[in-house]
Amino acid sequence: MEKVIEKWQDKIGEVVLGATKAPSTSLGAGNGGTRSRTIKIGGETGIYFIKGEDACPNPPVVAMEVWDMEPQAWPETLKAEFGAALNNPVEWAKMCVEKFSADLICLRLASLHPDAKNASGQDAGKTLENVLKAVSVPLIVLGSGSTEKDNEAMVHCAEAARGENCLFGIATQDNYKTLTAACLSGGHSIISEAPIDINIAKQLNILICDMQFPADKIVIHHATGALGYGLEYTYSIMERTRLAGLSGDKMLAMPLINLVGGEVWRTKEAKTGDEVAKDWGAAKDRGALLETATALAYINAGADILVMYHPRAVGETRKVISDLCGR
């Protein structure tokens, strides 16, 4: 039987994250930062992992999430992987990079939330500076989920990390202006998020670009569902986005990100201990396996960045990526 190779009209845009000291490099965004290297994502020429269609120019990358305070809701099996570092974002970030080979660090500024520590924007900016000093990989910076606090803090953070080309999140249709302006002034990239709606995703990207924000600094998040918790919805909207992008829709031709860890480790399958769920398999494996399975599904859907928690899941996922992309 003849093998049919789909020829796509367009390719997905490339986004460079991080900035090195080097003045102007082939990676363009290189100058002005202190990273040891930049990371390039996107650039797909077809559907992932179809031989002959997609050359896999920039394999998906794995970011590990680091919090600026100890995550209360994490189960012990997960906490145990990081030990005392959970109380120290700098140590935690170092551990992720040096011990677990994370491609990027995703700093979650959870302490900003009024229900958590209600930390100030200045504090958040300080933490970000410290993490930037401690590790040399590019950074993703996420807020606490409190719109008002995050908006205020992100202005500080974008300034504190000026020139480092971090990936800041999360811009939504109802709240994108402050973050976009902050990223624009600090020279950062941005995550635009729409709740499983391809039209809103596109509209938001248009609105962000209408603020003179470059399209090649946007990464799309379609919300993430854990396996068994609505993954298929996200999966199919990601596929549609990718197909639209490959078919020439510039406002959807952007790399995709999934916040896998945060979703998986909220599920009862990941959190419930051995004493309660005796027939579910060992708790120490269960969560990591669920996280791995979820991450792998998203790689197939076209994810470019996976933000993950468990070191073992990170390792497994990286291995699969390397196998699939033949590197």
């Binding site: 709606d197 391809i198 039209n199 809103i200 596109k202 509209q203 248009i206 609105l207 209408d210 829709d249």
Partner: protein, 642 residues
């Protein structure tokens, strides 16, 4: 049960109500008309009143700002008295002017609603006489019968029929017993010279009326447009085909809910149907009466009425229960209403005068649309054309002489001024266009009167101007800018079009972000309806030769602005034509010509209804259309560069 006395100011009209009665119901009872578009559900926020005296219980509503709450504003429909009360009904909550309370005066106030009667008349008169053969719903014929003799001994009725058939080929004729009983004496007393009125009743001919002598010069008819918001009546000379007068009034059913669904619900409650029926009949009778008086006619001179209305309005006019229109599988009692006597419906003209209604397609595409298609003439050409009615239901019809597909898009009332903070119907003082002059917003009102609010065409124009001048972003959010005054109330940003000191209401005339959202939803619904209709029938927008737009959204519609906001497809402006009220135009044509009425029936027969709720692409296309002009800018190349 305990009762309270409610006094409405400034009229000082009092009404006593039982405890537990809300103020909106009380106001209806007192004859004070307060705006409300949701049927008293507490949703629309239009029925704001100010409590001056008395104790009450009210539900808090986001529709009332903190500032307003402090000075005693409540929603009439959500407020019940606990003691006697005094209520001030502010200008913006009123349907009519304070001092003007007669129906006639209201009709006068609304005279500016459409193009002046003469202008409409001239325009449509030309096209219709060209197209349709004169043959009105009722015709008067003066007859000189030969008196009977021993050689010519047929009966009086047969004699009459024989004389009629000399002129006309009418094999089957009907005549009521009442007329037959009167005939022998009438013929002899009038010396065998009589005038008969022949009515066209569903293909057969009825001798409706016999009068002594020659009255064949005096035969008049009424064309009616029963709209959800407005009722328009034309007095037409059935012989000369001239329109002698035109009058409009708001549909007082608005008191019971602004859209058809809330009225159907209301009709199910107790005497609801009765009240709705009387509301419309009383208005129709008043309009007819004042038209007749103006021309010094008696009501007996009016022998025929042709009515165009949506399916629900037609049901309510005839007092037919509309309940099943809104219940799955959405079946109306009647689509093609047979011709009846107007008196049976309670309309006061000649007691034997006829009432005919333009046929409906189904529950959500009514006779007003058939009438509009007829008036637009798209059934005469092979060219693929589009007919759009920018009303509350937002019907879209695609087709040519071969077939029609229609859909109904539930666009909402905002093109008629409903659902907007400062929205009013297209009346004198309504802002109908917006522009930027010397870096400031400038507005133009209907009749150049002080601004009272904003109507549909003004809202469309406004949005386009805001977008072009970057006052709003493409999702409709208001940005800080130098051109317009932006205020914020309860966290909602608003653009001030006319400041309080310059407005007729003493309040700022504004468009806020919620209004913009409403307009975006309405325009998105219409656009998606057009898009899905074209797609389902296998056409591209470039296949369209003509696009006709109808509706009472203003005296003019800025086509460029409509394209800019994504209401209308991006086509050359010359393909578009704004027709105004096509429902009344089609009714008039059908009143004057049985050929036109036949055409209306053939249009109805050729029309298929596409239910958008079952169309898989509708929802996705709809959410893509909720952006300015559209999520896919490639669909609007002419707007791209702006």
């Amino acid at each position: 049960m305990k009762g309270f006395n409610i006094k409405f100011l400034p009229e000082k009209k009092s009404v006593s109500v039982e405890s537990g009665t809300d103020l909106l119901t009380a106001s209806i009872k007192s004859g004070i008309h307060i705006y409300n578009s949701c049927g008293g559900e507490g949703v629309c926020g239009r029925c704001k009143v100010i409590v001056k005296k008395g104790k009450y219980v009210t539900e808090h509503s986001g529709r009332i700002s903190e500032k307003e709450r402090k000075i005693g504003y409540v929603l009439a429909c959500r407020t019940t008295p606990e003691s006697d009360m005094e209520i001030l009904v502010p200008e913006e909550s009123r349907l009519g002017d304070i001092e003007v309370l007669t129906q006639e005066a209201k009709a006068k106030r609304l005279a500016g609603l459409y193009t002046p009667a003469e202008a409409i008349e001239e325009e449509h008169y030309k096209t219709e006489t060209k197209v349709f053969k004169h043959g009105p719903l009722s015709t008067k014929l003066f007859l000189k019968l030969s008196p009977p003799s021993i050689d010519d001994n047929c009966g009086d009725v047969e004699r009459l029929f024989r004389e009629i058939r000399k002129d006309k080929n009418i094999p089957v004729m009907q005549m009521g017993l009442a007329n037959i009983k009167r005939l022998p004496r009438l013929l002899r007393e009038s010396n065998w010279k009589v005038t008969t009125t022949l009515g066209n009743r569903n293909g057969t001919t009825e001798v409706v009326l016999i009068e002594p002598g020659d009255t064949s010069d005096k035969n008049f008819g009424i064309a009616l447009d029963i709209g959800t918001t407005t009722i328009v009546a034309y007095l037409v000379d059935l012989k000369s085909q001239k329109v002698l007068g035109a009058k409009a009034s708001y549909n007082p059913q608005v008191d019971f809910g602004e859209d058809v669904i809330s009225r159907i619900i209301y009709a199910q409650e107790g005497a609801g149907l009765e009240k709705l029926h009387h509301a419309v009949i009383d208005t129709v009778n008043t309009l007819i009466d004042s038209l007749a008086k103006e021309q010094k006619l008696t009501l007996d001179d009016i022998t025929a009425i042709m009515c165009a209305g949506n399916t629900t309005m037609t049901h309510l006019l005839l007092k037919i229960e509309p309940t099943y229109i809104r219940k799955d599988p959405y079946i109306p009692a009647v689509n093609s209403m047979p011709v009846i006597r107007a008196a049976e419906a309670g309309i006061k003209v000649n007691p034997r005068g006829l009432l005919s209604c333009l046929p409906s397609i189904g529950s959500y595409v009514g006779g007003d649309i058939v009438s509009g298609v007829l008036a637009s003439g798209i059934d005469n050409t092979k060219d693929l054309s589009l007919f759009i009615d920018l009303g509350t239901n937002g019907e879209v019809v695609l087709g040519n002489k071969e077939y029609f597909i229609a859909c109904s898009t539930s666009a909402g009332p905002c093109f008629e001024g409903g659902g907007l903070a400062s929205g009013i119907r297209a009346m004198k003082g309504a802002i109908q266009s917006v522009s930027v002059k010397k870096d400031k917003l400038a507005v133009e009102t209907i009749g150049k009167a002080p601004a009272k609010g904003i109507c549909g065409s003004g809202a469309i124009d406004g949005l386009s101007v805001f977008l072009q001048n970057k006052i709003i972003d493409r999702s409709g959010r208001i940005k800080d800018n130098r051109i317009s005054k932006v205020k914020e109330e309860d966290g909602v940003k608003r653009i001030v079009l006319v400041e309080e000191k310059n407005s007729a209401t003493g309040k700022d005339i504004i468009i806020d972000e919620n209004d913009i959202k409403n307009i975006i939803h309405s325009k998105g619904a219409i656009y998606t309806g057009i898009e899905v209709l074209l797609k389902e029938s296998g056409y591209k927008k470039s296949d369209l030769k003509h696009v006709f737009i109808a509706g009472g959204l203003g005296t003019a519609l800025n086509i460029r602005s409509s394209i800019n906001i994504g209401l209308l497809p991006d086509l050359p402006e010359k393909k578009f034509e704004f027709l105004g009220n096509t429902s009344i135009a089609g009714a008039k044509a059908s009143l004057l010509s049985s050929e036109a009425m036949d055409k209306a029936y053939s249009i109805a027969n050729k029309m298929t209804y596409l239910d958008l709720s079952t169309s898989s692409s509708f929802m996705n296309n709809y959410s893509a259309a909720l952006f300015l002009p559209h999520t896919d800018i490639e669909l609007f190349p002419s707007v791209k560069g702006l």
